[in-house]
């Protein structure tokens, strides 16, 4: 039983990262009916931003690069820096790559999204050297860990025999916080109301006096900031990051959003957690080679059986 619960915990931690990225996918699809394939790479940029910020903070305090250790404060500051940077990145992508295509076919925007995704991935394959420092490049970049967070939390371990590491707890906590924040924003603020209006009917929202361009920009900003959070917490579990780390998580987050019902925020969160847990169980059952395949299999089954997702409304057939 403990083994089952342990793998469940592993799955929830991984799923939290998927959920954070999926929230961005679902929000953008909600207002623009666009699947922003570049979102997984915003996650990757967020991870890099977090790593470089924490390294910069350490150097400012005189700690050498050899000493890969972070404190709670540097993590929070890295999160903030990554969120701001990715918010700007998301805004720029929308403003200069998607907005000009708003009057064009849906396909053009989709292809552009893929183009931006590839552009980000391969741009960051180039190594930049400033003095003795290396930035980006295809060689993986080490991640500083918060001291002690890799260890299982002692009182949980002694009372239940389960090991939940500090990193896992932090990931899950951040995902929950972001989800709650987003739900509050969308349901209880004017901006949220405007976002919901735009997602119901773009033109009607414009006619009602909503500045749609502004609302869409805000959507991208928030979505990208969430991906950045995902990037920073997601990178804490492993020991290094590289420019292609966003490809698979991005795809899985997209699947998560579809499973939960694309356009629905709680759907995206649930989809992410569900996907993480399923992946973990498939691995635990001994089929570690098929963990990734399982995610895509679920996508196919979902699209065949219930394309609107768990929380989606079945689209009526117009006869």
């Amino acid at each position: 039983m403990t083994y089952f619960l342990q793998q469940l915990i592993n799955g929830l931690a991984v799923g939290s990262t998927y959920a954070l990225i999926a929230l961005g996918y679902t929000m953008v699809y909600g207002v623009l009916r666009l699947i922003n394939f570049a979102h997984g790479d915003v996650f990757m940029v967020g991870a890099f931003a977090g790593v470089y910020t924490s390294r910069f903070l350490q150097r400012a305090r005189g700690i050498s690069d050899e000493h890969l250790d972070q404190s709670f404060y540097t993590i929070i500051l890295s999160l903030l820096a990554a969120m701001i940077l990715c918010a700007i990145l998301g805004f720029l992508i929308e403003r200069f790559c998607y907005r000009p295509l708003r009057k064009s076919s849906r396909l053009s925007a989709l292809i552009t999204a893929i183009g931006i995704s590839l552009f980000l991935e391969y741009l960051l394959q180039i190594e930049w050297h400033i003095g003795t420092l290396r930035f980006f490049g295809s060689t993986p970049t080490p991640v500083a860990q918060v001291a002690g967070w890799r260890n299982a939390i002692p009182w949980i371990q002694s009372h239940t025999g389960l090991s939940i590491t500090g990193n896992q707890a932090f990931t899950f906590a951040m995902a929950t916080l972001c989800l709650i924040g987003l739900i509050l924003l969308v349901n209880f603020t004017r901006t949220g109301k405007a976002m919901r209006a735009v997602s119901v009917n773009y033109d009607a929202a414009r006619l009602m006096g909503i500045n749609v361009n502004q609302i869409i920009s805000i959507t991208f900003i928030i979505g990208s900031a969430l991906a950045a959070v995902g990037g920073v917490v997601g990178s804490l579990g492993g020991s290094n990051i590289d420019p292609l780390m966003g490809v698979l998580p991005g795809l899985k987050a997209f699947i998560a959003a579809v499973i939960g019902g694309i356009g629905k925020i709680h759907g995206a969160a649930l989809g992410g957690l569900l996907l993480g847990v399923v992946e973990s169980f498939v691995g635990a059952a001994g089929w570690t080679q098929y963990q990734d395949a399982a995610a895509f299999l679920i996508l196919i089954i979902m699209l065949l059986a219930r394309p609107e997702g768990i929380f989606g409304k079945p689209a009526p057939e117009k006869v």
Binding site: A13, T139, T288
Partner: protein, 391 residues
Amino acid sequence: MTRRTLLKFAAATALALASTGLFNCGGGAGDASKEIRIGSLQSTTGDTSTFGKSSDKGIALATEQRNKSGGILGKQIKIMPADTQSEIKVTEQAMLKLIQQDKVVAVIGEVASGRTMAASQAALDNHIPLLTPASTNEKVTKAGDYIFRSCYTDGLQGQWVAEYAAAHLGKKAALIYDTLSPYSVGLADRIKEVYAKLGGQILIETTYAGSNTKDFKTQLTAIREKNPEVIFLPGYYQEITSLVPQARRELGMKDVPFIGGDGWDSEETLKADKESMNHCFYINHYASNDPDPKVQAFVKTFRDHYNGETPDAMAVLAYDAANIMFNAIERAGSTDGPKIRDALAATTDFPGVTGNITIDANRNARKPGVVLEIVNGELVLREHMAPPAGK
């Protein structure tokens, strides 16, 4: 189309053509007939970048020494580099660039077995000898008679891993390996085979997909359930430096030793999380603190040349491979592919830093190995492993 769009289109095309031209001019420069061009096909960037960087350093040192003493056949040696970025697809293109653009007479490389195999076809098609200093998978030299290796094979390496584990670490083991790496798969198979023969039992076998996998908690949790006495980890340093700390810290598996092969050998392995990497073993091609005078002389020369840096196995192997190649070209008396090939095949008792090297009928080298243990960020030589007697 309007005049404006036509102009834009023309400008874009011109820019594209110009940029391809700019990036291509490296190869043509220099007169190929006044120098001997040898290609160095290495992964200087990407997941296994330390392998490539170390290999290049070893080759560069050997080249400089040889050039100072007159080069080969009266000509200076020029090493043409090609970065495979640790990717198989890029390797194929890099090999073609070396052969077609840089016009090399032979190639030294790659390190990863999967990538050497990817480069083999171009070598065979163009009759360019390919000498790998470090690819250990058995299948590598089976590709064709232009593919050589100057290191031991996984058949031997896997046997040594299993033997050492069975004798010193335990008879109940877990195995975790990379399904996307021919090296890892081949080594894992051989370990299983020999370990079973020695009475060892593999309690659980699990896998991961690719060197850039970051999260191993699912696999490690499953392994922890079975409580093995030792864990076989025949992977590359990139994922090992994530996996072992996760096992030690996040899963609390502090006492179980890990053991693997030469893929562990990198400065990254020693820099990572010193506390976690304790009590880990791996088979390697050489030990930098081996008291053998030839080894120590090389280590000193390397350190003097490269700012005090200690050479790792890849550097030493590449150094030996480069010298074997120079020696073969000298004996062939020409830069003709088939003649160099024949000379390489006839290499006997070549005095390398990593031992006396003879290339056998299968184009493999019969050489000894060592077992190293990581203790506080340092490598400690535990045992010498000898190759089976015979040809």
